[in-house]
């Protein structure tokens, strides 16, 4: 599964879209998804979608804007990190009236984060509920008619350069980027969404303005508000600038070309690490996609807040306690991607534990063990829906990927996701594992480069 919060927490940042010709962009004025009786879905004044998910509980709200937009920009020449930088510049720039979004969120004691995937951008504020109305207004004012200032650009460039630098020392990010770079020969999926610092410094103000103008339109947006708010909060969103004739619809998915043959890739890194990547089912194939989520949960579940680790994670903890393994199925429009990264001194040993785990799921599980694992899986799904940000992330991600009503949390346990989970059987899970994970994966190996010291290649 791809639950946005988990993507965010693990710094995963990859979205891949193939076969976009078979999947037109959702129309800004088309049918609205049914996300359950407690969730309101509507149109923004100038087009685009607004999802409001009121809930009791902590007096907090998540306000998120999601856009379909390639991380490398819309031009023929890829500009890695331009989407990330543009979003940061808009959040940092002082609009004609009022405070910059970043300052407004900070003054409310909230948190603002921006996450860029290969073909989408998320701007997320978690704020006290009392500030939610004002933040919806400030966020939509900032992003539906973007103002880009020199000061905002300078500040944002410094911050995004640092973010890119830090990410280059994160094994998971480096392996993930390498996997996607090998699976796709072009398109935004081929490039790291955050780029490297020199990519960020090579982007000019004009690039940012052009990107922001096209990407950050109301017609291209999904606004999600979740938490201790009421349905009327949608009215706080501003209309933004009127669309030009060519801007009536949201952006179509960017198309990456799948590699016809995958080659192993070796890169230098500060410590021994590695990973795998496989192409998986489309988001529209909900039963198979849910089976892949189940497999990832069963093998690689890892959460510091809980103790319920997956089978492979437990093996790594017991046999190589100083090592780390991460695995996830990334649910995307078409195709999804199963991705694994591991880090530790005994890289071959880690690889063996991961291989053993995948071999395990390619055979039908014993009925009792499967039932327990499925119960645990459903509990994890529910537990990951306990904060407004987690719910908003889900609605935003699955909306952008074209299947909002498949989001875990939509229509509760009666929704499509939980129905798909309930339909899983040991045999079906094994079939799906064999179908997608029985093929040769992209193999990534990271190793220290003695001649170059600590730099990433």
């Amino acid at each position: 599964m791809v639950i946005g919060s988990r993507l965010r927490a693990s710094a995963l940042g990859a979205v891949l879209i193939l076969g976009a010709s078979a999947a037109p962009a959702p129309a800004a004025t088309g049918d609205l998804p049914d996300l359950g009786p407690n969730v309101t879905v509507g149109r923004l004044p100038s087009g685009g979608t607004v999802i409001v998910d009121p809930a009791q509980g902590a007096p907090v709200a998540a306000v998120e804007l999601w856009y379909r937009a390639p991380s490398t920009g819309f031009g023929a020449k890829p500009l890695p990190a331009v989407a990330r930088l543009a979003a940061q510049v808009v959040a940092a720039s002082k609009p004609i009236v009022g405070d910059p979004l970043g300052k407004a969120v900070a003054d409310a004691g909230g948190r603002l984060s921006i996450t860029v995937y290969s073909d989408s951008v998320s701007i997320s504020a978690v704020v006290p509920a009392a500030a939610a109305h004002a933040i919806v207004k400030t966020m939509t004012t900032a992003f539906f008619a973007p103002v880009v200032t020199d000061a905002g650009f300078a500040e944002a460039q410094r911050d995004v350069e640092q973010e890119a630098l830090i990410s280059n020392y994160d094994a998971e990010t480096v392996v993930r980027d390498a996997v996607f770079g090998q699976l796709f020969t072009d398109g935004p999926q081929h490039y790291p969404p955050l780029g490297v610092p020199k990519d960020v410094s090579a982007i000019g103000l004009a690039d940012v303005k052009a990107f922001a103008t096209r990407a950050f339109r109301a017609q291209n947006a999904t606004l999600v508000v979740s938490g201790a708010i009421d349905a009327g909060i949608a009215a706080a969103a501003v209309a933004g600038r009127p669309p030009q004739a060519s801007e009536a619809d949201p952006e179509a998915p960017a198309i990456g070309t799948l590699a016809t043959a995958v080659e192993p890739v070796t890169k230098s890194f500060v410590q021994p690490s590695g990973g795998y990547g496989w192409v998986g089912p489309s988001i529209l194939n909900t039963r198979e996609a849910t089976a892949m989520d189940f497999i990832a949960d069963y093998l690689f579940r890892s959460d510091d807040a809980r103790s319920d680790d997956g089978v492979v994670v437990k093996q790594v903890e017991q046999q190589q306690p100083d090592s780390l393994v991460i695995g996830q199925f990334i649910t995307l429009h078409d195709p999804g991607v199963m991705f694994v990264a591991f880090e530790g001194q005994d890289e071959p040993g880690l690889r063996g534990l991961v291989d053993d785990g995948f071999a395990l799921v390619r055979k039908p599980m014993e009925a009792h063990a499967f039932a327990s694992a499925l119960d645990a899986f459903k509990y994890h799904l529910l537990s990951d829906l306990q904060t407004p940000a987690e719910k908003a992330d889900n609605f935003g991600w699955y909306s952008v990927e074209g299947a909002a009503d498949y989001a875990p949390g939509a229509s509760g346990e009666a929704g499509r996701y939980f129905q798909a989970a309930s339909s899983l059987t040991p045999e079906f899970v094994a079939e799906v594992a064999e179908k997608y994970l029985g093929k040769p994966p992209v193999v990534v190996t990271l190793a220290p480069d003695e001649s170059k010291g600590k730099a990433k290649s």
């Binding site: 007096p59 970043g102 948190r111 006290p128 009392a130 119960d375 509990y379």
Partner: protein, 442 residues
Amino acid sequence: MKPALAFAVALTLGGSAATSAAVPAPQPRYPQAFATDLGVTQLIGETDADAPVSGVQIFVAAGLDRESASNNGVSALVAESILRTPVSTGDGPADTLPLRDAIESSGGSLTYTVDGRSVHYYLEGRSENLSALVGLFGKALAAPDFSPAALAVARKALLARVGEFEGNALSVGIQMFRRSYYTTGAGAPALGTAATLTRLSASDVTEFYRATYRRGAVSSSAVGRLAPQLGEALKTLAMGLGDGPVSAVVERARPIPGQAPRIIAHRDVSAPWVVVGFAAPAPNSRDFGAMLVLESLLSDAFERNSATTLGFLEKSVGAFYLYDSTPASLVVYVNGTQVDPTLALRELLVVSRTLSVKPLGATALHHFKTAAEGQFITDSVSLSDRSYLLGTFASQGLGSDSINAALSALEATTATDVQRVAKAYLQRYIVALVLPRQTDGN
């Protein structure tokens, strides 16, 4: 100090001179909590009808303050052993699993944390299933497996975590301060050290368990869709423990001397980290709200401007109000990878002094209170965090509706309060320096 840092500080204090106050926002509130007397123990709960799962914290008065130098780590070793104690989930031998696995296979999760005043276990699961999970936990709690084999596994797991802790400069710095500040076990490492864990025997563990895991030492706090059966399950859990009182503990701290003691340690870190530790008021003190404001102010006042909230590695300066021990403390850290620690430390002390001699203006006070309130709320969202705060604040005198009581304390804070608390607590401090191994400490 780097220009951006100095600018942020100047901006912050400059704001204090303004006098116009903004319109107050509606006061945020969590669902009102309730207390239920279960006879042998107490449950404090917050009903959240929209929560997809429910969670309960079970506090046992078996924290660091009950350890000594000779048995440091025993609280964690007991807890780790309890997680591994076999429990039966059915009729057959295959249905007997280590507690943690049994709870996972029943669709739940279990973690524990050792802090100054308690060890608290957090159980989470489907609301309709939480009582059954508490029942499983109660079985292990009543009859833990302290066999040599079980202890060896638990010890190995703890040793791995101790190693991780030692690699974290901030954790090391905070621990250095705590060790210097507290006179009791509250200043010892939460999980023990490699040396102390290795020394602990089965009899040490059993003795600690018998002395602390008593009926009167247990309390609980829960958040979610709470079924009536939960109270019964918690009552049964408490009844499974030995009767009789748990001995009283008085936690003590050394007075912080005026000459600002400096402690130095060397670790495998890339840049120096500085932790400045102050004494701080307990949650039931009239100074609590003001200290929350100061925590927020000191955490953000020195930061460079950034539209997005900076992550831990990107922050130059941060602050934590540690109210898990009595007396409480406040630590402010300086991240040497981001800022010159000497200059940042000097700036921090100037700000602390300024706050003690000059009250904040109305606008600045409103700004800092709003930010502090927002940070408190956005830090207290998950069921785990909410149930923990509910229990720990209630146990420190904030009443059953304790999270809302903390918010009320924050809202009632005046400029005079902030100045008084800055004067009372921020003028004496201990400096802990964590330096790269190759660096001279002077």
